[in-house]
């Protein structure tokens, strides 16, 4: 079972105070911590668990600058065998489609049974790379996978639908699956674990090695361009309860009594 996993390094913004930078086209990233995209951490865990069960190799792949090495090393420490990083000045401005095009060329020469991506990335949230990649590679795919089993040359995958419903599909290998959060419990990697893989080679590939023209990737190979970022308009919003902890607690109780939450 040879598995390729596509991952991305993203800023952690869930608990951060996010502001827009001077270009107006990106957020202020100084001071933000970066980590492996949450969806991808489930994808890499799934790949490693499959490898442990069926043998084979896990190759982890990303598109990004040198700073993405840290993300790849985390995946290596989790148990991936090989890491590839796609990097080239021509990749600048790549949208999801252009990113998928570069990833497809990197994956093509690798003998694989399964390609995994996260459902989407925490930053731009396109949720597009997996589906485009499957199309470019000419293999079947299933998205939003929340459970999977391998049987011979097939995978039985559960897709997460709305309202707690799951759809079960059977799909022939080789195939691509986009992995939903919660499918497993990604293993913890210690700093020691990452240190152990510090010397491991990370192969770097550019447009030349991928046999891509510069015009096929980056902004010129993209469908979309971000014009401007802005903070979402705030609605009427909540009435903020002020006071110390005791005071706000009493206010909450009054509201509960009034609104039928306490009787």
């Amino acid at each position: 079972m040879n598995i390729v996993v596509c991952v991305k390094r993203v800023p952690e913004t869930a608990d951060a105070d996010v502001t827009i930078d001077r270009s107006g086209k990106d957020i202020e990233k100084a001071g933000l911590a970066f980590d492996l995209n949450e969806w991808d951490s489930y994808a890499i865990e799934e790949a490693i668990a499959l490898k442990e069960k069926y043998g084979g190799t896990v190759t982890v792949l990303t598109l990004g600058g040198e700073e993405s090495n840290e993300t790849l090393r985390k995946c290596l420490a989790m148990g991936a065998d090989e890491a590839l990083r796609l990097t080239d000045p021509a990749f600048a401005g790549s949208d999801a489609f252009a990113t998928a095009r570069a990833l497809a060329e990197a994956i093509r020469p690798i003998p694989y049974d399964l390609v995994l991506t996260g459902v989407q990335a925490e930053d731009d949230g396109y949720g597009q790379v997996g589906g485009v990649l499957a199309q470019l590679l000419g293999i079947p795919h299933a998205s939003l996978v929340c459970r999977l089993e391998v049987q011979d040359r097939k995978v039985r995958a559960h897709r997460e639908l709305e309202g707690g419903l799951e759809e079960v599909v059977e799909i022939d290998l080789p195939a691509l699956l986009t992995i939903q959060t919660g499918i497993n419990q990604p293993r913890y990697v210690s700093i020691m674990g990452i240190r152990k893989v510090a010397k491991k080679e990370i192969k770097v590939l550019g447009t030349k090695e991928l046999h891509l023209e510069a015009a096929e990737v980056g902004l010129s190979g993209s469908d979309l361009q971000v014009e401007q970022l802005f903070l979402p308009p705030v609605g009427e919003g909540a009435q903020i309860l002020e006071g110390n902890v005791e005071e706000v607690s009493l206010k909450v109780l009054d509201i509960l009594k009034d609104k039928g939450g306490l009787s």
């Binding site: 939003l144 799951e166 919660g182 909540a238």
Partner: protein
């Protein structure tokens, strides 16, 4: 005639809300652009749905085929690639749903059509469209433009556009010949699985105390459960808590979990991703406790407390117990 095409989404014999939302937005765009709105309906035994769609579209493109009984990207992609390739609509709208997320990226790539996913705003901009979508988990909005010439495909976030009741368009039903054959599929539909029911049905509770990522550690959940108990309510949660296996799926409020309408909903340490909000916006009164004053949950909450849940929850719990004892 220029055309805006909407892909009807249905499951279990019923059209899903997103279909009406897209048709409303599609009609508004069509009126602005001097275009017509068409709806593509793929399925087996869906004549009744075609009839139901007629008032909201100029044309119902109806593809009836037993191989389309259940959604499958492989069959849908074949049908739509042929349909869109032939008609070249100015804009195709598909839901950013479990269906659309599975289908649209590959379909657009196959047709070499520019795609913008998960959009909350679509406005005509000359020959193109100006798109608004959310990035960084909804903390920031992005205005996005297409770099290529059309036709375009956009996936639409559920709930982003209201359903507008308007005069009937009394569209024609146009039955189309299926391009599908009996060749073997690489992906096959097997069946549906319902989520396991929980001990407590959170959709029936009058009071829900709901906990999110901000709780940090599973050891802190009993504290919130005690608050729910003190209020005579039930404990629920947002997605990250279920992903981490701290609470069962049956407790999850949101798009992929349950839709709830309690009298009072207390959101504790929940930032308010749109998938969560979609599941609880029907609550009578929403009270949110979060340390981040910019958390989107405060946009939908009626009352907010900006502060440390670990300080507030224990005191609130004690006060509620005292009140109950009186």
């Amino acid at each position: 005639m220029k055309e805006i095409l909407v892909l009807a989404e249905h499951r279990g014999g019923e059209l899903r809300d997103i279909t009406w939302e897209m048709l409303s937005k599609g009609r508004q765009l069509a009126e602005a652009l001097g275009a017509e709105v068409s709806v593509a309906l793929l399925g087996k035994d869906v004549k009744a749905l075609a009839e139901a769609l007629r008032p909201r579209a100029n044309r119902v493109l109806w593809v009836e085929d037993e191989r389309l009984e259940h959604f499958n990207t492989e069959t849908y992609e074949k049908v739509l690639a042929s349909l869109l390739g032939e008609r070249q609509p100015l804009l195709t709208l598909i839901g950013q749903t479990a269906t659309g997320m599975d289908l649209a990226p590959g379909l657009a790539a196959r047709l070499k059509m520019a795609l913008a996913t998960d959009c909350i705003g679509i406005e005509p901009d000359g020959e193109r469209f100006a798109i608004t979508r959310q990035v960084y988990g909804g903390k920031v909005n992005a205005r996005v433009s297409f770099l290529k010439k059309g036709p375009y495909m956009v996936t639409v976030r559920p709930g982003a556009f209201p359903v507008v009741e308007k005069d009937s368009l009394a569209g024609e039903i146009e039955p189309l010949v299926t391009p599908l054959s009996d060749e073997a599929l690489a992906r096959r539909f097997i069946g549906f699985v319902e989520a396991a029911a929980g001990e407590v049905d959170i959709s029936q509770a009058d009071v829900l105390v709901s906990v999110g990522r901000g709780i940090k550690d599973p050891e802190n959940i009993p504290m919130v459960k005690e608050l729910a108990d003190a209020l005579g309510g039930a404990l629920s949660c947002s997605r990250p808590v279920v992903d981490k296996k701290w609470l069962p799926k049956s407790c999850q409020v949101g798009t992929s979990g349950k839709t709830v309408k309690p009298k009072v909903y207390i959101a504790i340490g929940i930032s308010g991703a749109f998938q969560h909000i979609a599941g609880m916006k029907g609550a009578g009164t929403v009270i949110a406790i979060n340390k981040d004053p910019k958390a989107p949950i405060f946009n939908v909450a009626h009352y907010g407390i900006v502060g440390d849940l670990f300080k507030i929850v224990p005191v609130l719990k004690e006060k509620a117990k005292e009140w109950k004892k009186r």
